[in-house]
């Protein structure tokens, strides 16, 4: 196995991890701060992609469309929070899971009603096409490199906001003690709505990044929703740091598994056995990883410090 291939796959894993992080960040933020399990997060990712497709078609310009699409997703997130999710904060996780599951069905069908069931096209502008030379004749798609860059920038920005700004402090304080913050005169409802909107925008950003390379169609959220949950469980719920670490771990393990598990198994098993076992094991790999992590550290790798 040549070194360049392994390095390239590592990079692929990081890129996949970064996409997962964008989704996981929003989800873990909402879970950690508002104690809300939101299965419909995948639907916000989907709506981000759809709204951006519509915005790009309407404005004719990629960047304008992306900005509009993200803004629209932010608004949509806040709307959903106000209309459907407010009453769920006090309820237990089961009710939250089921209510947001109902939202998934609704959003999928909404997308089908407005945009049809066929997959849509979100074209990349010319300046995002092409390749960059990374190491030893390895051409890496420019777009994916940009995705990594954007993801890392978002991670850095989130870390800064949460730890260094007043807003972040309010958010963390609200997580520890809601009523105290309200007593101090902070409008906690508005804060929560805003945080949810940010979470939605992050999911929407992931959708926007995914649009040109994945299929934009109803139900696209559910394809990666489970993996995102695995990420936040491994990383530890409520912590952005955990989401980042979990996302990278899951991204790299899943990618390396898909790439190298079959050849590796082929060295110890017969070719036919490796043929059968390799793909099956590769699909199960991240679940096994999660089971192992939970067995050793039942609260995830970096559980958030604000107790729930």
């Amino acid at each position: 196995m040549p070194l360049t291939l392994v390095l390239e796959q590592l990079l692929n894993g990081v890129q996949f991890g970064v996409m997962l992080f964008l989704m996981a960040a929003g989800l873990t933020l909402v879970f950690g701060i508002m104690n809300l399990v939101n299965l419909a997060h995948g639907s916000l990712y989907m709506m981000g992609a759809y709204l951006t497709v519509a915005a790009v078609q309407w404005s004719g310009n990629y960047l304008a469309g992306v900005a509009l699409g993200l803004f629209a997703t932010l608004l949509l997130g806040m709307l959903v929070e106000v209309v459907a999710l407010r009453t769920l904060y006090e309820r237990d996780h089961l009710d939250q899971v089921l209510a947001t599951f109902g939202l998934i069905l609704f959003f999928n069908e909404l997308a089908a009603i407005f945009w049809g069931r066929a997959a849509l096209d979100l074209p990349r502008p010319d300046w995002l096409q092409g390749h960059i030379e990374l190491f030893a004749a390895s051409r890496y798609p420019l777009y994916r490199a940009v995705v990594i860059g954007v993801g890392l920038a978002v991670a850095a920005a989130l870390w800064y906001v949460v730890t260094r700004t007043r807003l972040g402090m309010l958010v963390r304080a609200g997580a520890s003690n809601r009523s105290m913050i309200a007593a101090l005169g902070v409008n906690i409802r508005l804060l929560y709505t805003f945080v949810f909107g940010i979470g939605a925008a992050l999911a929407g950003l992931a959708g926007v990044m995914a649009g040109p390379i994945y299929a934009v169609q109803p139900g696209m959220g559910e394809l990666i929703l489970i993996q995102v949950f695995v990420v936040i469980v491994i990383g530890g719920i409520g912590s952005i740091r955990g989401a980042f670490a979990g996302a990278l771990i899951v991204g790299v393990v899943d990618t390396l598994g898909r790439a190298f598990l079959k050849p590796l198994l082929g060295t110890v098993l017969s070719p036919t056995a490796a043929e059968a076992a390799g793909p099956a094991l590769a699909s199960m790999l991240i679940y096994l990883l999660m089971a192992v992590v939970l067995a050793l550290r039942p609260e995830g790798l970096f559980p958030s410090r604000g107790g729930q």
Binding site: A118, V216, G219, L256, R258, P279
Partner: protein, 411 residues
């Protein structure tokens, strides 16, 4: 009124509220049964059941099929075989048990005379036995599960599509004949994926660089594409239907693979996915028994009428469904409207005496068509429009599937 539970009952209102739930159950049951009882129907009306996937992923295929059935009905003036016809559509939600439930509902509640449709092999394998056991004819208009062409063939089951293996067999034959000797295979890791690869290998005897099976529903193929590039094959053959195909094709183009490696596929690029992929499919080869540009008069009429009515190009899913209705039409005509005469219907269907979109063909002993297969290529469409698939050459003439010898029927 003493209820023994200690609740306070001292008025008729409380009595009603107390027994509210019971009253509601009785009322609900009565309403449901009344609702369900349908008036007796005169036999002069023909009822065709059509099961497909209308919701969720795969719903786009169901739309193509339903729109095609409607075109067939329009052409026949809503009279299949001369009888006033009602087509009852059912949504299997891509689940075998729901498909079965829908079929049971159509047979027992709606009293359909004949059943048709079904996209997915697993749904078909659940539904067909029940339908045929009830004595109804089933015309499959897509699913090509191999048991139905072989040991599970049934007098009352007809297919207007193909057997799953035939389409990849055609690709394998083409590549074998073209002297290709180096192929990298990729497909999703489920039964259809394995069938496609098996069918391909039945006719392609050259070197296989690697066989890669990916997780069903996987959105990101970057890892597998890196592996492929490292292996540097001369040709690549893939099977990625639906959303998986859209994702794979986008990443194939965006990763710079298009133009670098010749790409051949089956059931990956077609009229249901081209609108999402646009020019990223140009230059790709597929094999199929039909393409919208096929120069068969019945097919050309179907395509023209379909485009006029629906504003988009029909896919093979639609062509097969249209064909199913036409097959049923020919049979009902032959028995002069006496649909209950199953033996007569079966004999008439076997003759395949109708204008099929694939041209004149005969049925094999297992009630699957013996038909031609073509190599098709994605080429630029009329100015400003999406690419279209264009027939390049015939690969198989009167091709039989590989399972008919296991079918015990003789006629």
């Amino acid at each position: 009124m003493d209820t023994g539970s200690g609740s306070l009952i001292d008025s008729p209102r409380d009595f009603l509220e107390e027994n509210f739930m019971i009253c509601r159950i009785i009322l609900a049951a009565a309403i449901t049964l009344a609702f369900a009882a349908s008036p007796a129907m005169a036999q002069q009306k023909l009822k065709i059941g059509f099961i497909t996937t209308l919701s969720g992923p795969g719903g786009i295929i169901g739309k193509h099929m339903r729109d095609s059935v409607e075109v067939a009905l329009d052409q026949l003036n809503r009279k299949v075989g001369g009888l006033e016809t009602e087509v009852i559509y059912g949504d299997d939600q891509f689940k075998p048990d729901v498909g079965l439930q829908v079929a049971e509902e159509m047979m027992k509640k709606n009293g359909v005379d004949i059943m048709s449709g079904i996209i997915w092999s697993n749904v078909m394998l659940a539904v067909q036995p029940a339908v045929n056991k009830a004595g109804l004819i089933m015309v499959g208009t897509n699913a090509g599960a191999s048991p139905l062409a072989g040991t599970g063939c049934n007098e009352l089951y007809f297919s207007t599509s193909w057997n799953n293996d035939q389409t990849p067999e055609a690709m394998g034959k083409f590549m074998q004949d073209a002297g290709v000797n180096d192929v990298y295979l990729m497909a999703p890791n489920y039964q259809a994926g394995k069938d496609m690869v098996a069918g391909f290998k039945r006719y392609y005897k050259g070197r296989i660089v690697d066989e890669v099976f990916t997780r069903v529903g996987q959105p990101d193929y970057q890892a597998e594409l890196s592996q492929l590039r490292a292996k540097n094959p001369k040709n690549v053959f893939v099977f990625y239907p639906g959303g998986m195909g859209v994702a794979f094709m986008k990443q194939w183009s965006e990763g710079g693979f298009r133009g670098q490696f010749p790409l051949y596929s089956v059931f990956t690029v077609d009229e249901t996915t081209i609108p999402a992929l646009k020019h990223s499919v140009l230059g790709q080869y597929e094999t199929k028994f039909w393409s919208p540009d096929l120069k068969v008069p019945a097919s050309q009429k179907f395509v023209a009428d379909f485009q006029k009515k629906n504003g988009y190009l029909p896919s093979f899913y639609g062509a097969q469904s249209y064909d199913g209705i036409m097959l049923i039409d020919s049979a009902v005509r032959a028995v002069k409207g006496n649909v209950k005469d199953s033996k007569g219907m079966v004999m008439a269907m076997r003759k395949a005496n109708y204008n099929s979109i694939r041209g004149k063909f005969t049925f094999n002993v297992n009630h699957h068509p013996i038909q031609d297969f073509y190599l098709i290529k994605a080429v630029a469409g009329p100015a400003g429009k999406d690419p279209v698939m264009e027939i390049q050459k015939k690969v198989f003439e009167n091709h039989k599937d590989s399972y008919y010898k296991d079918c015990k029927m003789k006629w």
